[in-house]
């Protein structure tokens, strides 16, 4: 046994190799620790499942918020307590108003997203795959990307009036860019070694696009889609508050005139929930489209 190796294992009476000569190690050595236990998670103080424990914080916040309202520390005109928000939600749902506004907003966002995401995707593919497309489109997109979307609002109103079109156009404009930028750079970033291996496997240009380049760009596209979804709601809130006769943003704006903070908070809550829903949707897409990644994340 080489000396170095022996020393590394040595200082212990637990090794059980009573017959082997003890090498000249550094004395009795420190106590041994259990390597397996080192990595075990520590037991928590509260014996509750993790999701329940994670919910405790937000629930506590709601409780404090409610108490502040109940004891009159914060007036209803400043911030309505959760109970008032809840009853406002119930009331508006009962009359069908909330559903109408929600549907109006959802339709706008969905149409704008559909347009913007497809435009961003198509432009990214053309610019990513063809040199001429790249030269013509990429610089153009980079310039347009620098324009603040909401700054276009007055112009869009002049062009399209006050109907549905300007809102959809704004959402489309605002969502095309994140999709474009991320998809384009993902296409450009596809590992050239994979392209080479595809080529030696006999793939032609079309085959390379279909089997190597586009699948390789999906992760980037999904990142762009995430940004687009968040951006779409942001744009929609502003657009609806400035210029609309229905939608959640309009509802909130009306509530402002009557100091109905319960409805305003309700609107915010709905936006939050929609954001969560959009995120869940993308995660579902990721799970389906990126199942091959599980190998790398060890979650197979």
């Amino acid at each position: 046994m080489p000396d170095a190796l022996a020393q590394a294992v040595a200082p212990s009476s637990l090794t059980g190799d009573g017959g082997a000569a003890r090498p000249p190690g550094p004395g009795p050595g420190s106590a041994l620790v259990d390597a397996v236990a080192l990595n075990k998670p520590r037991r928590t103080l509260i014996p509750l499942p993790r999701p329940v424990r994670r919910l405790a914080g937000p629930l506590l916040l709601v409780l404090v918020w409610q108490l502040l309202g109940t004891f009159g520390v914060v007036g209803e005109r400043v911030l309505a307590p959760p109970s008032a928000v809840f009853s406002a939600g119930w009331e508006l749902t009962r009359t069908g108003e909330l559903t109408d506004h929600l549907l109006a907003s959802l339709t706008r966002v969905a149409s704008g997203l559909a347009l913007g995401v497809s435009a961003g995707l198509v432009i990214a593919v053309v610019a990513g795959l063809f040199r001429l497309g790249d030269e013509l489109l990429d610089s153009t997109m980079q310039v347009l990307r620098a324009l603040p979307v909401l700054g276009l609002l007055p112009l869009v109103i002049i062009w399209f009036g006050v109907g549905e079109t300007p809102k959809i156009a704004l959402v489309a404009f605002g969502t095309a860019f994140p999709v474009y930028v991320n998809t384009y750079s993902a296409i450009r970033g596809v590992d050239h070694r994979l392209v080479e291996s595809g080529r030696t496997a006999g793939l032609g240009r079309l085959g390379l696009v279909r089997h190597v380049i586009l699948p390789g760009a999906v992760p980037g596209f999904l990142v762009g889609l995430r940004f687009a979804l968040t951006g779409a709601w942001l744009i929609m809130i502003i657009a609806e508050q400035l210029n609309a006769t229905n939608g959640i943003g309009y509802l909130m704006n009306q509530a402002q005139s009557w100091y109905r903070t319960d409805i305003i908070v309700l609107g915010l809550l709905i936006y939050g929930l929609l954001g969560l829903g959009a995120d869940a949707l993308v995660r579902l897409l990721e799970r389906r489209l990126l199942s091959w990644r599980h190998g790398f994340e060890g979650g197979a």
């Binding site: 080479e196 291996s197 080529r199 030696t200 496997a201 006999g202 089997h211 091959w292 990644r293 190998g295």
Partner: protein
């Protein structure tokens, strides 16, 4: 027969190359003014296993890439068969395709899956046909890459340090597997490697690439089941190491 660059169609060469899988004449390649290949002449016969040794940066991979048709900047005349396949040092499986789909990538759809399964069986990966490449071990991934190459029934198999990234034990098993498969399929093989032992164990002929030129060919004439302990093996290794500029310790 086609040219690697599809520019040079010398009809006279076709008659002369009936038994050849590779015919290289005065092949050159320059990178930013530095000549990496300076006039390579090389014939590889059908079914012949040639190993090409060289130090890191000697241009051996450059020559292989030219034969693979991956380098349009190559000068000279380089004739290779139409059906050729490459195994790289990294497996280069498409991470978003399952193993079987990787193996049959680029094949005509008709009967591809059955052929792919047969190739996977040959490399012992039948149980992994639905696995994602990311879940394979290094040896398994490299076997899948070998299956992807063999399923095309190549006339020329190009191996670019295919076992360089594997551990020593896996490498030994891969050597045995490659020897078996080549005995069955009989492609012409060009193995680029820096491992002298590997070259002697596998090849019929070993070449050394130094300063952009190929040295004298050395035919490996060892009894079946080549052993490193064979004195002829040791002599050949010594000669090759000397040619590579390494003194044997």
């Amino acid at each position: 027969m086609t040219t690697a660059s599809d520019t040079d169609k010398d009809t006279a060469a076709h008659t002369a190359t009936a038994e050849l899988a590779v015919s290289a004449r005065k092949v050159t390649r320059t990178f930013a003014g530095r000549e990496v290949l300076s006039g390579i002449d090389l014939d590889i016969f059908r079914g012949e296993f040639v190993a090409l040794l060289g130090r890191s940066g000697s241009g051996k991979s450059t020559l292989l890439r030219a034969m693979a048709g991956l380098d349009p900047e190559t000068g000279g005349r380089l004739l290779v068969p139409r059906r050729r396949a490459v195994v790289f040092q990294d497996h280069r499986l498409q991470p978003w395709k399952r193993v079987l789909e990787n193996v049959i990538l680029g094949l005509p759809r008709q009967g591809a899956r059955d052929r792919g399964r047969a190739a996977l069986a040959e490399v012992g990966l039948t149980d992994h046909e639905r696995a994602w490449p990311g879940t394979l071990s290094g040896g398994e991934a490299q076997r899948a890459a070998l299956a992807r190459a063999l399923v095309r029934e190549p006339e020329l198999l190009l191996l670019d340090e295919p076992f360089g990234a594997l551990d020593a034990l896996t490498r030994l098993r891969m050597h045995a597997l490659l020897r078996e498969l080549c005995a069955v399929h009989r492609p012409a093989v060009l193995l680029v490697t820096h491992d002298v032992d590997e070259a002697i164990l596998l090849a019929d002929r070993v070449l050394v690439l130094t300063d952009g030129r190929i040295g004298p060919p050395r035919t490996v004439d060892l009894p079946e089941g080549r052993r490193r302990t064979d004195p002829d093996f040791a002599r050949l290794r010594g000669d090759l190491l000397a040619e590579l500029g390494v003194a044997e310790g």
